[in-house]
Amino acid sequence: MGSPKFEVRELSAWFGGKRVLHGINLGIAAHQATAVIGPSGCGKSTFIRCLNRMHELVPSAHSEGEVRLDGVDVYERGIDPVLLRRRVGMVFQKPNPFPSMSVRENVLAGLRLTGTMPNGREGRDQHAVERALSQAALWDEVKDRLDDPGVSLSGGQQQRLCIARALAVNPDVLLMDEPCSALDPIASAKIEDLIHSLKQSYTIVVVTHSMQQAARVSDLTAFFLSGSLIEFDSTDRIFTSPKDSRTEDYITGKFG
């Protein structure tokens, strides 16, 4: 597998006094898609939000333990969370393009916010926009509509626009929190297809409620339950013969 992109050690997280993650240990392989599955409230979203320090943005939330990105603990003193989030981008459940911005401005928004915008020079802008939209498999559909509002696109296109926005800043890792739950099957299939091609350049972590989606898109699957990591293995293994009976019960639909 090579050295992991992320090495998570004894990671625990709280909202106020409520502990939502219990000592997670997990390595996330580079250039692989890792799926995180589990029932609502199992801590899977909190887990990925700890990877780019978004968890701490919630008032009263905190975490303990180590999250090493290429060997460096992202919780070390001196790590700038803003720069971290540039390396570890995120796509959310509902497409959230900036409503007042055009398609083009949406793609460039991340670059502007992080101050890495190539000085608004027309040619370089154009290059960055085309590259990000192409990687997000959206370029052909929107190349003639770059100045239309981002929110004028369809839901599936908006989600790919958000992926393009995340890719524009050149991250190492893309975290996706239920990226298809608001999309129709065709738009979902496009995102899933995209995940396969993005693995070449990025490390992908995708949280999903859809077990079938996890089975389709990921190389590795982590199953969370009540804030604990129950099982982590190759996706092929998890979906054909998981070792833990709790994983088995969850993926075969035997709950409660």
């Binding site: 079938q212 089975a215 979906f239 013969s241 088995e248 075969t252 639909g253 709950f255």
Partner: protein, 227 residues
């Protein structure tokens, strides 16, 4: 210990599949017994009835396959459910083949009709009893998820092969000594061969049960229990 699926309709479909397989296996087991009984007791009527019963087994194969496809399409089963469905698809094929072999024996029983046997049937009924036991235990192991019992079926196949070798040698020497016995000898040898083949199918069933329970493929492995 065994939890039902939250979706009860899905649970019902899986139960229906399980019941169909059991019924089919029960029919096949009966066919093995009846075919050899028809042969030994020279009961042509029983042979004909048994051939007739094979149609039900053939139909069960088709219906079970259909049910498996519907479940695969609608439910996208995973893990033990997936192993159960794929196992079912294979099991019906083995069961159906055993039924066909029993039909072959019945046809020989009809051909031989009232001809006196070369000598009293001894090893062939013994082989039939072993095969029947193997099929029954493979199915019981399947129902109970009992790996040990499934393994015992795999182990018993050797005794069946040994019996077949003995029958073959006996018949060969009988035929060499008396050319007039060749035709009946060949029929008898075929019957023994088919029973031996049934044993191979029963072994397949048992190996599939081990896979269903443990998620571990023991086919074509020298020593199966290195888990």
């Amino acid at each position: 210990m065994i939890k039902p699926h939250t979706d009860r309709e899905y649970e019902n479909e899986l139960n229906k599949l399980r019941e169909r397989l059991l019924r089919m296996a029960g029919r096949v087991e009966q066919m093995i017994a009846d075919s050899v009984k028809a042969l030994v007791e020279q009961d042509v009527q029983l042979a004909r009835r048994t051939i007739e019963a094979d149609r039900v087994v053939d139909r069960a194969e088709v219906e079970t396959d259909e049910l498996c496809l519907v479940i695969l399409a609608k439910r996208q089963p995973v893990a033990s459910d997936l192993r159960f469905i794929t196992l079912s698809l294979k099991m019906v094929t083995d069961l159906e083949r055993i039924g066909d072999l029993a039909v072959n024996i019945c046809e020989r029983a009809i051909d031989l009709g009232q001809d006196p046997p070369l000598k009293p049937w001894v090893d062939v009924p013994r082989m039939a009893a072993i095969v029947q036991g193997m099929v029954r235990d493979a199915i019981d192991a399947f129902v109970a998820g009992d790996v040990q019992r499934a393994q015992s079926v795999v182990d018993r196949d050797q005794s069946l092969d040994d019996l077949y070798t003995r029958v073959f040698r006996d018949l060969l020497s009988t035929m060499l000594n008396d050319g007039s016995k060749v035709e009946r000898g060949i029929h008898a040898q075929s019957v023994a061969k088919w029973l031996e083949r049934m044993g191979d199918h029963a072994t397949n069933l048992a190996e599939q049960v081990v896979f269903m329970v443990k998620g571990k493929d023991i086919r074509h492995v020298a020593k199966p229990d290195d888990a």
